[in-house]
């Protein structure tokens, strides 16, 4: 029997609600892009001048080209590495994988601004690693301020995104197929390439497409590392056109954002084509899915651990080491004796200043409670799209990916306007609810994809048998689907919490006195250059994430088996 037409009202209602939430900022951006002044200006008129400016600006084309290189470069770095790490940690008997996993996720905990900042302190021209390397070998032959350097750092920092998608898919795979191949004499690489890889292809494709989108939206890393050298990507170009005219020129920002949407829509289309036959990959059947791990052997262990160690050194130790160091000193660099610089003054300032300490509290609330609300919302949307092959399913897929095409800064700005100009939303503006709604939209594609790929792995025959025995579609969701995906939900909550903790751009325009959040406070502080407090806040944000993650794991969020 077909499940496609079940619960049409619920599906249509949820999808429509989501569409409104997503389309409102996108439509506002498109509308703003064809005006000659802010849309609320009294003398505003229709005009294509913004597009004319963008299309005749050589810097736009340069930024577009750089962004393309960056996005594809990031995928090339992140997808194979993330997939490999997921395979090693979830499917093999790699030593220490239980404690390796949280470590592997660390780059996700950090907003990219913080990450880039950490890299300048460790491997920048005067970084402590660079200085140590120079004193040992005479020269340090790298530069993190070049395009390849920025791409590499961007790619490495997105390995955890790929890892989470692929690992959550791999965990749900039964191991009998791999074992069969092993018994038939296939080596571990054969098995992973011919058996595991095709089974997790949907997750790999999802994460590659998502990373491509993230690449087009990337902001923090090129801002900190590329800007001083004049390396511009589309988002930093938006940032620049915002100031280059003196007063903010929303129409030009909006026009560039429209181009970003135009670039990403075909990506969504391709992704949908690739996943048309997702049903083929459903692997959790009615039978129990016990996983037996592949044995790596001594050499395999050494190679795998060495590889992971190197990746951890570059992706975790360098940036985090940089931040930790910077948080506890006032000065660093060449000729500075760090032992003379140790201080707690940076933290003292954070705790003495009401807005900063309030920001910590708000961030915890928004990430913990808000994250749970967000997951509940994503689950509703996920169910509305579950086994939904109708038109509303198509609408859903596009609705989900549209906000991905909008830079967080723009989402925040449009929501600021919506809460200011839409009468029934006005009372919410100065509350954390306005931030939560914007955050839910920004985290939508992350969170929903995790939930969807978990939902996809529930074999339809389970729901079908529930329906045949007389259960309504809601009952089959409540008693079959949701219990089966529960570990996935806890994992999604942990992940959304992390995403909300590190988010920085969305709150910049939305927060007010009383609703400060750490990430956006750091952006405010960055404009005045208060690096001492930024470093302390980054450190606190890392610590909070570590606490949150530990809690989540205790509560049963299964990030590892």
């Amino acid at each position: 029997m077909s499940l496609a037409n079940d619960a049409p009202r619920f599906r249509a209602g949820v999808i429509l609600a989501l569409f409104v939430m997503v389309a409102a900022p996108a439509l506002l951006v498109i509308y703003q892009s064809v005006l000659d002044a802010p849309f609320f200006d009294d003398n505003v008129r229709f005009s294509l001048d913004a597009f004319r400016f963008v299309l005749t600006d050589p810097e736009f084309y340069r930024a577009l080209w750089t962004t393309t290189l960056y996005a594809f470069g990031m995928v090339v770095v992140a997808v194979p590495l993330g997939g490999l790490l997921a395979f090693l940690i979830t499917r093999t008997d790699l030593k220490g994988r239980t404690w390796l996993e949280p470590l592997v996720l660390v780059p996700m905990f950090l907003s990219s601004i913080v990450l880039a900042f950490g890299y300048t302190v460790s491997v920048g021209p005067s970084g402590f690693v660079t200085i140590a390397f120079k004193s040992l070998f005479g020269a340090a032959p790298w530069s993190i301020y070049t395009l390849p350097g920025i791409i590499l750092i961007g790619g490495l920092s997105h390995v955890p995104t790929v890892y989470l998608y692929v690992a959550s898919a791999m965990r749900r795979l039964p191991s009998d197929l791999e074992e069969a191949a092993r018994t038939a004499g296939a080596g571990i690489w054969r098995v992973s390439l011919d058996v595991t890889l095709p089974m997790v292809l949907p997750a790999l494709v999802f994460s590659a497409a998502l990373n491509l989108l993230l690449g087009f939206e990337t902001f923090g890393i090129p801002l900190v590392l590329g800007d001083p050298n004049g390396i511009l990507v589309l988002t930093t170009y938006i940032y620049k056109v915002n100031t280059i005219f003196g007063a903010p020129t929303y129409q030009v920002m909006a026009a560039v954002t429209v181009f970003l949407i135009l670039i990403t829509l075909p990506l969504v289309f391709i992704q949908r084509r690739l996943l048309r036959h997702a049903r083929r990959f459903a692997a959790v059947g009615g039978k129990g899915a016990r996983t037996n791990l592949l044995r790596l052997g001594a050499t395999g262990q050494a190679v795998a651990l060495g590889l992971i160690g190197l990746w951890l050194l570059v992706s975790v130790f360098f940036p985090v080491g940089g931040i930790v160091l910077r948080a506890f000193v006032e000065n660093w660099g060449e000729g500075v004796r760090l032992t003379e610089q140790l201080t707690l003054a940076n933290f003292k300032a954070v705790f003495e200043i009401p807005s900063l300490s309030r920001g910590i509290l708000n961030t915890v609330l928004l990430a913990g409670v808000g994250g749970a609300i967000a997951v509940a919302f994503y689950l509703l949307v996920g169910l509305a799209g579950h086994r939904n092959r109708g038109r509303s399913g198509t609408l859903l897929d596009y609705s989900v990916l549209i906000p991905r095409a909008l830079p967080g800064l723009i989402v925040g700005l449009t929501f600021f306007w919506l809460f200011l100009f839409v009468p029934f939303l006005i009372p919410l503006r100065a509350t954390l609810i306005s931030l939560l709604i914007a955050y839910i939209i920004v985290g939508l594609s992350y969170g929903l994809r995790i939930i969807q790929s978990t939902l996809l792995q529930v074999a339809p025959e389970l729901e079908e048998s529930a329906r045949i025995t007389g259960a309504s579609v809601y009952r089959s969701w409540r008693d079959v689907v949701i219990p089966l995906v529960k570990p996935g939900l806890a994992g999604a909550w942990a992940m959304i919490m992390i995403v909300f903790l590190r988010e920085y751009a969305t709150g910049v325009y939305l927060m007010s006195s009383g609703t400060e959040v750490i990430g956006s406070l750091m952006v405010s502080l960055l404009t005045s250059g208060a690096m001492d407090q930024i470093a302390a806040l980054s450190f606190i944000s890392i610590a909070l994430t570590a606490v949150g993650l530990t809690l989540a794991l205790r509560l049963g969020a299964k990030l590892h088996d």
């Binding site: 800007d227 100031t243 007063a247 807005s355 005045s528």
Partner: protein, 368 residues
């Protein structure tokens, strides 16, 4: 409902009450030298209970001022919003259009953007009783007030410069960049006029007031120049040795940083002593009009200025002994301090034609 904020305000009130014994002029009384009916204004302000500030001065630097205000007027809560220059401007015009004005005071370093707000009718006219204490150029039609004087400076890393003698004047800086072109490759930094409003304000003001600006930019262009959006970012790179020298950064910050780090040197070039100001206005339709007036007066008063000067924003008043003030700065600059006046000329900076011309020259000069 009792919020944390009330508790904080309450604690402030207790402290202030304890202090009131020794300092009778403070704590809800009429500040010395104000007219007798000022008490009515303060009463009204206390009744309003709060004042909302949109600013670009970060919380760390703004805090001493806010605490001094709380001590003086414990009944008035301060909602302090650090939004950055563009953020503050954006919020003010958006809220005005939505008829939901949320700011009482706008106080930022974007002199030009705030002058645009004034020209758009977004500022209230109010003659502060402190206005008499200010230089004439610091008050625009009783609408926009300069609240500080902050010179631009050269900052350098002493050990990295080594044997190179740091330039003491703008003319020496040009020669320094020209003669040490090769040694300085990638080591010189300055403000980015494209991404920073302050950067544009400084360089555009330079270009209008001095003849050698483009020669300087050209010399800068020869060194594989690095440009930044804030003074703090430059400090980080100079202190770490990644860059050796930066010019046109905010001197008042640089002086504070050099106090804490012996390896940093600061020069206020006497042949180029330009200075900008943080400017303040009362928002049109401010939700707390009386509290806004009381806050603006406090910001310009000797006490408010003392608090600000203590956290690194030199006072525009000559009677403030804390930190630096306009007279001391002028002395340091050999009597040639040239603050950017708060005048309608600032509007030029947001005129698209002026900007396009500036950037064309800027790019051309940077290519060397």
């Amino acid at each position: 409902m009792i919020t944390r904020r009330h508790v904080v305000a309450g604690a402030g009130a207790l402290t202030a009450a304890a202090m009131a014994g020794n300092r009778p002029a403070l704590a809800q009384g009429i500040p010395a030298g104000y007219s007798a009916d000022y008490k009515d204004l303060v009463d009204k302000a206390v009744k309003e209970g709060a004042v909302s500030i949109y600013t670009s001065t970060d919380d760390v630097q703004g805090r001493p001022l806010i605490e001094a205000f709380r001590a003086a007027f414990p009944g008035i809560r301060v909602d302090y919003n650090d939004l950055g220059t563009n953020g503050a401007y954006n919020r003010v015009i958006s809220e005005a259009a939505a008829k939901q004005v949320g700011s009482d005071i706008v106080w930022t370093s974007a002199m030009d953007l705030q002058m645009v707000l004034v020209s758009k009718g977004q500022a209230e006219t109010y003659k502060s009783p402190e206005a008499a204490q200010l230089p004439a150029w610091a008050n625009f039609n009783d609408q926009l007030y300069a609240t500080s004087v902050e010179p631009v400076a050269i900052m350098y890393n002493k050990s990295m410069l080594g044997a190179l003698k740091p330039p003491q004047t703008r003319a020496e800086l040009i020669a320094f960049l020209q003669t040490n072109k090769e040694a300085l490759k990638g080591k010189v930094a300055s403000f980015d006029p494209e991404k920073s409003g302050s950067g544009f304000l400084f360089f555009n003001n330079d270009a209008r007031t001095t003849s050698d600006t483009w020669e300087l930019v050209k010399a800068f262009g020869g060194t594989d120049p690095k440009v930044y959006g804030s003074s703090g970012a430059m400090r980080e790179k100079i202190a770490s040795g990644e860059h050796w020298i930066a010019f046109n950064l905010i001197g008042s910050y640089a002086i504070e940083w050099a106090k804490k780090n012996n390896n940093l040197g600061v020069v206020l070039p006497p042949d180029h002593a330009a200075a900008f100001s943080r400017v303040a206005n009362i928002s049109k339709g401010a939700p707390h009009p009386a509290a806004a007036r009381v806050f603006l007066d406090f910001l310009l008063s000797q006490r408010g200025q003392t608090a600000m000067a203590g956290s690194g924003a030199p006072s525009i008043r000559t009677d403030v002994s804390e930190g630096l003030n306009i007279a001391k700065l002028n002395e340091m600059a050999g009597g040639k301090l040239k603050p950017i006046p708060v005048s309608a000329a600032l509007l030029e900076a947001s005129d698209p034609k002026t900007r396009a011309e500036f950037f064309q020259k800027w790019k051309q000069a940077l290519r060397g």
